[in-house]
């Protein structure tokens, strides 16, 4: 009943107010400004827009204050905030895309083994001492390998039903986790091992602006591509034959969606390590609030995922005296939210 009322309310807002994309976009900008103001060095929320206006020549800020702000905002906090936005949106939209294309509300980049595969690939790159770009490439290749392996395992057990695919993902995740353990075991314990362990726990503060700018190109491109494929994803979610009968080139779209979702979620690993749960729960939360239609779900999930990770990062920075790895926070937050969503989603899942 409550859900019905909420949807009606939303539709009233949607009908009367500005478009929902605008509302969500404004929310994201606000969340980013808030995130930039939080930290040990005190900055008032109002100073953030003033600073950015001053930096493009509109308005002015006292010179010494400007220098201090530039240091804290641009050098320290902005990479972190952008990392949170990129990673959160990439995980949430790839999660929603995987769910549609596999017709399975229980899959996510984490559950399909993508994150484990990408972690293994990146760790392998670190141990081999290859260049940063090659580490990204290895993360993507192994992430894709993990999806292919998981789907193949599911096929082995008959048609890819909800449960067999989850099973395949678990097997694939376990395989790449154990490969990762081998890498950790052979890694140099003085140098490479602490790097790998600390980074995999999830940390948004390890990339610099240049790296983030490079990664932003494929990640934003991928999230936008998944966003415009919403109607095709809706058709695919109804079944292959039905999608074909609606004129959708099923093979091409499926391949493009899996490759894109794997790419963007693999790259999150290289920015911030393994961050679980976002790819699973954000699409569910958005579906509960805005409905199942992927034209709305894909962009909303991307924006909401970004806001969710900004919030989780805020908690990671402020909950304790020392910073807690973000991956641990999303896990702690994700479990109760998932249980809540599970109890509210309609029971379509266990009827297969």
């Amino acid at each position: 009943m409550k859900q019905v009322r909420r949807r009606a309310l939303w539709q009233m807002i949607a009908a009367a107010g500005p478009p929902w994309e605008l509302v969500l976009g404004a929310g994201l900008v606000l969340a980013m400004i808030l995130a930039l103001s939080v930290g040990k060095y005190p900055i008032a929320v109002a100073e953030i827009p003033q600073f950015f206006l001053a930096s493009v020549g509109l308005g002015s800020v006292a010179a010494d204050r400007y220098a201090a702000l530039a240091n804290v905002i641009i050098d320290i906090r902005l990479p972190r905030v952008l990392a949170a936005v990129l990673v959160g949106s990439a995980l949430a939209s790839s999660g929603a895309a995987f769910q549609a294309v596999f017709r399975n509300p229980l899959v996510s980049p984490g559950l399909l083994g993508v994150l484990s595969g990408a972690s293994f690939g990146a760790a392998l790159g670190i141990v081999l001492g290859v260049s940063w770009y090659f580490v990204q490439a290895l993360a993507f290749v192994m992430g894709l390998g993990a999806v292919v392996f998981g789907v193949a395992v599911a096929r082995l057990f008959g048609n890819s039903s909800t449960l067999t695919l989850v099973l395949g993902g678990i097997v694939s995740g376990a395989l790449f986790s154990s490969l990762l353990s081998i890498i950790k075991y052979v890694a140099d314990p003085m140098n490479a091992l602490p790097n790998i362990v600390y980074w995999l726990m999830g940390n948004l503060a390890q990339s610099n602006l240049t790296q983030i700018a490079w990664l932003a190109i494929p990640m934003v491109g991928g999230v936008v591509l998944l966003g415009v494929l919403g109607r095709a994803l809706d058709a695919l979610a109804m079944g292959d034959d039905e999608a074909r009968s609606l004129g959708v080139p099923v093979g091409v779209i499926r391949f493009a969606v899996i490759a894109t979702a794997t790419l963007v979620s693999s790259l999150t690993v290289s920015i911030a390590g393994m961050i679980g749960w976002i790819g699973l729960i954000v699409p569910h939360v958005v579906r509960l609030a805005l409905g199942a239609s992927n034209t709305r779900l894909m962009p909303s999930a991307a924006i909401f995922g970004a806001m969710f990770l900004l919030g989780a990062d805020y908690l990671a920075r402020t909950m304790a005296n020392t910073e807690i790895p973000i991956g641990i926070v999303t896990e702690l937050l994700g479990i109760p939210i998932f249980l809540l969503v599970l109890s509210r989603t309609n029971r379509g899942w266990n009827e297969h």
């Binding site: 769910q99 549609a100 017709r103 399975n104 509300p105 909800t162 415009v228 494929l229 109607r231 095709a232 809706d234 058709a235 979610a237 109804m238 079944g239 034959d241 039905e242 074909r244 009968s245 609606l246 004129g247 959708v248 080139p249 779209i253 579906r287 409905g291 199942a292 239609s293 989603t345 309609n346 379509g348 899942w349 009827e351 297969h352």
Partner: protein, 251 residues
């Protein structure tokens, strides 16, 4: 026969070593309801899937208005021929309006925006099938009969005049089966052509304008129900004796 037809011509299809279809020919035109009967595993669904271009036949062609399907794009085909699948349960709670709206996909294209006229078309279809009151309900929460109507709604929203239905009566109770028959008859009267598979010869007897049987990979009978649904055909198809039954009795 009208020029607007979908026709399989001497279609062959094998799965492994087993020939599923061995020269099956079947056509569908507007203003008719064609029922396809056959045993389990006779290849009824395979033939439908070939006629919908989901599968490619090994030999033979399927033509739409005389043009081979291999030369017709999926989008164009989708605006002429629609598929109504067997009842199923999609994993996501789409609203009825959204499911029917998916039928506009072939007209707008994958990246196109839905316009006012698309939304109007969807409303019109829902009104014509009396499912407008369900528009904001979740498809997943509807009864089987309602879901079947929504699927038909999506097919009509495609703008297709030829509908291919895979066992539309399966999973419906008797009342809903009779209601669906009325709907289908009225669609036929409006000029739609309907091809369906069914396991129930009595359904075929009640609704079909033409009954076809698929035996050993070929169409064995093709004619009006009173000629096809007779004890001899039933015996050949299902291996059971039929003494009194529907129009078979009267003929």
């Amino acid at each position: 026969m009208s020029t607007e037809t979908l026709a399989a011509e001497a279609v062959h299809f094998s799965r492994g070593n087993r020939a599923v279809l061995a020269g099956a020919s079947l056509s569908l035109a507007p203003k008719e309801i064609v029922c396809l009967l056959g045993r389990n595993g006779a290849g009824k669904t395979t033939l439908l899937r070939i006629m919908l271009s989901f599968l490619r036949p090994d030999h033979g062609t399927v033509r739409l208005d005389g043009r081979a399907l291999s030369g017709v794009s999926r989008r164009v085909l989708a605006q002429r021929v629609a598929y109504v699948p067997q009842l199923h349960h999609p994993p996501f709670p789409y609203l009825v309006r959204e499911v029917v709206g998916m039928g506009r996909l072939p007209s707008t294209g994958l990246f196109g925006q839905t316009s006012r006229s698309d939304r109007d078309a969807v409303e019109e279809v829902m009104a014509s099938l009396d499912i407008a009151p369900l528009a904001d309900r979740r498809y997943t929460q509807l009864s089987a009969g309602e879901r079947q109507l929504v699927m038909i709604g999506r097919a009509l929203a495609q703008g297709a005049r030829l509908l291919v239905m895979d066992e539309p009566f399966t999973g419906l109770d008797y009342g809903h089966q009779m209601e669906l028959m009325d709907r289908l008859r009225s669609l036929k009267d409006q000029g739609y052509g309907i091809l369906m598979t069914t396991h129930q010869p009595d359904h075929a007897a009640m609704i079909a304008t033409r009954v076809t049987t698929l035996v050993a990979g070929q169409i064995a009978d093709d004619g009006p129900p009173e000629n096809v649904i007779v004890p001899a055909t039933i015996r050949r198809l299902y291996g059971v004796e039929m003494h009194s039954f529907g129009c078979a009795q009267s003929s």
